[in-house]
Symmetry: C2
């Protein structure tokens, strides 16, 4: 029977499969830093060439930003699924905290089993390759895929996806399929196959607070001088109240309570709260009082400071009152929160707190993305549940997610397509952090899971 | 009459005098950054050689840090004055705000007259050279100085002077004189000769606040995750109350009110509050409510943040909750405030506000310096008043100062010497800032002022 042959081939060819992944991981495709533009292009070309070698019509297509990889294979006329992933990765700083070079991947043995170490191993190169390798094995055994498959990979997911919506609009007819399959999410607990039922949205913003016209001597002006570092700290401190609730007026507009049924389902997913907290050095959850850790992570919005700086950072000291202070922030959105309305509320909150002689400028204006709730009633979700349950030997669960995958919402808003997210990352993968890893087990069984999914959808 | 000849020579030789200053300004002697250690040594050697050429016994003496320049000239047995200055300078960042290379000095014409542009032109190379050039002219005309002069220059004034006290102790007999003359201060208003009657003390400290064990994804941990950038902002915001008063418990212990007489004197010094504020972009004083700008600057202690940083500062965004946040701070002390007691109070204030799962480490522990009040009744002060009044054509005033010159206190505590501070800097010299300058008039009349001072002390 075909599926068994495909699964056997997947197992047998793991060494070559791993070599291919390493080849992709060695390309430092950091999308947010222009210094790595050429590497992003190289990663796109690498994948397009690999897909062509499998028989896909594939190309890396130029955009105003980083290229999109678009590839097609399989018979027209019947079912048509689109697979989405992203080949770009996060910056690696602080580099000093990595115990090996981020773009020199290797398999390391750990107490929890072997892992693939390297930037992008989990987010998202390792995950996107699970689908590509499943297709490769299927084609190798059967000669062709059982239905139409379009692969669509972007290189700007970690930098606000500026080219994504225009590209989807310009290529709507080519990209529109029955459903979008997305592999950029994790498992609620090790070995518990998970389908993501909802995602938080995201809003990014950045501001500079200006005080004196020039940097000042903290002796000559210490006292009468307004200090931007003190003022920006007061503003950041004002973003939350004593209970950890965001104090920006109207922030929670559009936030709905989670139904008791959903809460009960979540508690049954096997989420290990203790491990989730202690694995990163926490003993308690630090979010809004009155909400469980899962609610804080999946169902409540946030306002986080991602970068804060001003004044002297070098060796020794400098007795200065700096002219500027800088802050990068992101919000995670839930329910019906409107990103652009929220941006206005946050900017108003900051501007209302500027003292005399201070001013603010807003630097970043990437489009925000609302939260997304999936159409879990679709047949593809039943197929996914079955495929995952077969492969992992325990029933798949539908979970929430704290992260944002704007594309899931864009498929709906731009192309009218629903999306299905299943992924194999673990909470301790340290994505966006030093020493990112992906479990060899996730990679291997992830490929097998997609092979089973193709089989279910073919049936 | 000798003085006239000396003053005439000073005027006549200004071109060569300026060339010598430029030679010293070209040496990037930034003491706080180890990358410039060799340049600090070069600056010390440059001055020692120049002093030897004038007939001083002079040498640059090694210390565990940067060298000290010690030089002697003039007859023993009678009056003995020590002159102190520092040849090290502040870092130049942000370099992008300089309109010329900081260590490529030049004379520039401005609306307020010609200025010497360059790092160190005012603080303190230009100022220390006013005394050296006065000695040069005097020796050239008269063959020798009229009394014993010891010149003592350090290279660590901008980096906490770690070697100063040990060096003073080890060389106490050689350095001890009747009084220390210090040229590292400014004029209360352009053209108003000023003697500094009191100085604020200083305390430096630096801490890192740690949260999660690693940088975290702000989607996966946004909500439950403790964010060090938010926590450090709350702590910094807690340092001051709504009235701009420092809220650290016991902070004001040892702070005395200023006498109405002193306040009245200060108001008569010609301090131009409007220019002091507007020249740097302020419309109002931002210090403690209920105190005048002069009191905020001279008579009230401060707690200033000089550096603050954590998270992502690069191009674009990064959805991270960082593992660490950093803060550099300095306090200015007045009256009887004890630096080391204050350090404990500040550290206790921070530690009392750490949330669960956060910890702090203290990085910097340079010795603090208390405030200093000068012995303005000494005869040398009368001589200085007369010399300055003669040169500037208006009576010299005794002023306070916002800055700290720890050496003034150390001369008393280590060597039992009083100090006299007279300097020629202006508030708009942008010391410690980009585009530092020193008025040509300050340099020229500064040299003439010291020549007159030598004459008064000789008489």
């Amino acid at each position: 029977m075909t599926l068994d042959a495909v699964l056997t081939r997947i197992d047998r060819t793991m060494p070559e499969t791993m070599d291919r992944l390493f080849g992709l991981l060695r390309i430092p495709s950091i999308s947010t830093d222009p210094a790595f533009n050429a590497d992003c292009a190289r990663a796109a070309d690498w994948i397009a060439a690999d897909l062509r070698a499998m028989g896909f019509e594939a190309e890396a297509r130029a955009t105003p930003g980083h290229p999109m990889v678009v590839a097609h294979a399989g018979p027209m006329g019947g079912r048509h699924v689109l697979f989405y992933g992203h080949y770009d990765v996060q910056p690696v700083d602080p580099l000093s905290l990595w115990h090996r070079e981020p773009f020199d991947p290797a398999i390391e043995d750990t107490a929890k089993g072997p892992v693939i170490r390297g930037r992008g191993s989990s987010d998202d190169k390792g995950q996107l390759m699970t689908f590509i390798e499943a297709c490769r094995a299927w084609i190798a055994e059967k000669g062709a895929l059982p239905f139409r498959v379009t692969i669509f990979l972007e290189g700007e997911e970690e930098s606000g996806s500026p080219s994504l919506i225009p590209f989807m609009r310009d290529n709507a007819d080519e990209l529109r399929a029955d459903i979008a399959l997305i592999c950029d999410t994790g498992m609620i607990a090790p070995g518990v196959p998970s389908i993501t039922g909802q995602l938080r949205g995201m809003l990014k913003d950045e501001f500079t607070l200006y005080g004196p016209r020039i940097d000042l001597h903290s002796g000559h002006y210490g006292g009468p001088g307004l200090n931007p570092l003190r003022e920006i700290s007061k503003i950041i401190a004002s973003f939350h109240d004593e209970d950890g609730r965001v104090a920006v007026e109207g922030f929670y507009e559009g936030v709905d309570p989670v139904s008791p049924q959903t809460l009960a389902e979540w508690q049954r997913t096997g989420f290990d709260e203790k491990d989730y907290l202690t694995s990163v050095g926490y003993t308690v959850p630090h979010g809004e009082k009155g909400f469980s850790t899962l609610e804080q992570q999946w169902a409540r919005p946030t306002l986080e400071i991602n970068g804060l700086w001003g004044g002297y950072q070098g060796a020794g000291g400098k007795t200065v009152i700096p002219a500027e202070a800088h802050c990068k922030l992101t919000c995670r959105l839930v329910g019906r929160m409107d990103p652009e309305k929220l941006r206005k509320k946050i900017r108003a909150h900051v501007e209302a707190r500027l003292p005399v002689d201070a001013r603010v400028s807003w630097d970043r204006d990437s489009e925000g993305s609302p939260a997304v709730v999936m159409a879990t009633g679709r047949p593809e979700f039943e197929a996914a549940r079955a495929a995952l349950t077969d492969e992992w030997g325990r029933s798949a669960v539908i979970v929430g997610a704290g992260g944002s995958i704007p594309i899931a919402g864009f498929f709906k808003s731009v192309l009218g397509m629903d999306a299905l997210l299943m992924g194999f990352a673990n909470d301790d993968d340290a994505i966006h952090s030093p020493n990112e890893k992906y479990d060899v087990k996730s990679f291997h069984k992830g490929i097998r899971s997609w092979a089973r999914m193709i089989d279910k959808l073919a049936g």
